[in-house]
């Protein structure tokens, strides 16, 4: 699959500076000048400027993706810094999207960074996602994961998904009509059925690898090169250093992308993520 990238008037010809900046990828036949122009005209939205979003955003902006949108309403915390490499020590306390925009502008002034300093919900998800060609999911919770999946299906946007847990990661690509997250898991697990946030932990390198795979898949989609992770879930286990994969199929009974969908509008699932947050709400 290749993504339909609008032929923007702004990048019909590469400038001297752009040729200098991107020469090492332009010289590859799979990219070339046409591929670089496709990247410069592409718009990619990142859900989250955290562990997965950091490497994904850095590599996408560095590669010359013309517009990088970032949705995140959190502020930088000291405990983020071991894995969220968009942010530095001096950014602690700042909104993550501001810190991210500064870092990305420094890496590549060519990239337009669009910051959404707000939580994603059924109120804004469609409007935020609509202008983009591809969505890269780095969300950390089930409600957002389902919201992004459903919104991308409704808007027919490819979704590059990534997940991490301790030493394990997963990545895949959902292409509208070829299966979605709900084909894999039709509904969120009930609260308490999966390990709570407090039980989880992660080495910074792990989201670094999974987020980089997500960036690569997004770039492949933009270039129309290679075989994407569509219909395959890549499972990465870092302790034995193994990559495996399982098949993903479009489920005809999927509540969103199936033959007779029961979900036709966005849902805000009650936020849950283990005990502490749930009890704080009640």
């Amino acid at each position: 699959m290749s993504v339909e990238v609008a032929e923007g008037a702004n990048h019909r010809v590469l400038t001297i500076d752009q040729i200098r900046r991107y020469q090492r990828q332009i010289i590859m036949p799979e990219v070339g000048s046409p591929g670089q122009r496709r990247l410069l005209n592409a718009k990619v939205l990142l859900i989250g400027a955290g562990g997965l979003g950091s490497p994904a955003a850095l590599y996408l902006a560095a590669a010359g993706v013309g517009t990088v949108g970032i949705v995140d309403f959190d502020t930088v915390d000291m405990s983020n810094l071991h894995r969220q490499i968009l942010h530095g020590h001096s950014d602690v306390g700042r909104p993550k999207v501001d810190s991210a925009a500064d870092t990305l502008h420094d890496i590549n002034p060519d990239a337009e960074i669009v910051a959404y300093n707000e939580p994603l919900s059924s109120y804004n998800a469609l409007d935020i996602i609509r202008p983009y060609d591809i969505v890269v999911n780095g969300s950390d919770n089930f409600p957002t994961r389902y919201l992004v999946n459903d919104a991308c299906y409704f808007l027919k946007k490819p979704l590059v998904d990534g997940m991490i847990f301790r030493f394990e990661g997963q990545a895949t690509v959902y292409e509208p009509g070829k299966g979605c997250y709900r084909c894999l898991f039709p509904a969120p697990p009930p609260p308490g059925a999966v390990p709570s946030c407090a039980e989880a932990g992660v080495l910074g390198v792990l989201p670094g690898i999974v987020g980089s795979i997500q960036a690569l898949e997004a770039i492949k989609l933009i270039l129309g090169e290679g075989t994407s992770l569509v219909n395959r879930l890549l499972i990465f286990d870092s302790l034995p250093m193994e990559f495996r994969e399982v098949k993903i199929r479009r489920d005809p009974s999927c509540p969103v992308c199936g033959d007779e969908p029961s979900i036709t509008e966005l849902i805000d699932y009650e936020a849950f993520c283990g005990g502490p947050a749930a009890s704080a709400l009640s």
């Binding site: 780095g138 997963q170 399982v246 936020a271």
Partner: protein
Amino acid sequence: MGVQIQVPAVLRKHTDGARVVEAEGGTVAAVIGQLETQYPGMRAELLDENGEQRHFVNIYVNDEDIRYLGRLETPLQDGDRLAILPALAGGAWQVAPFDKLRAGSSGVVQVALQRRFLRFAVR
């Protein structure tokens, strides 16, 4: 030699940390039954109280989802590989919910608060 079962990190608390375990059985259901005798607690992770597969845990035989094979009655042969795949939310900021709650910046709480505020505003 039996069936090789890939245990995801989330469930390794039941297998003393083992990533791969072996069990005998002619079907997925039989293997789960034997897994439970070897590693108590595994069955409840995979099946609900009615013995149905939980919707947030997928099981694969040789990389194919058993929902597209024979579900729990999917036949197994010696040497088959069975993989368990639970839904993971994981991503950006999973580590310190207590700190975040104290700082008032938990994503979960803020989303909920924002929604409550919106509801209030609508009223």
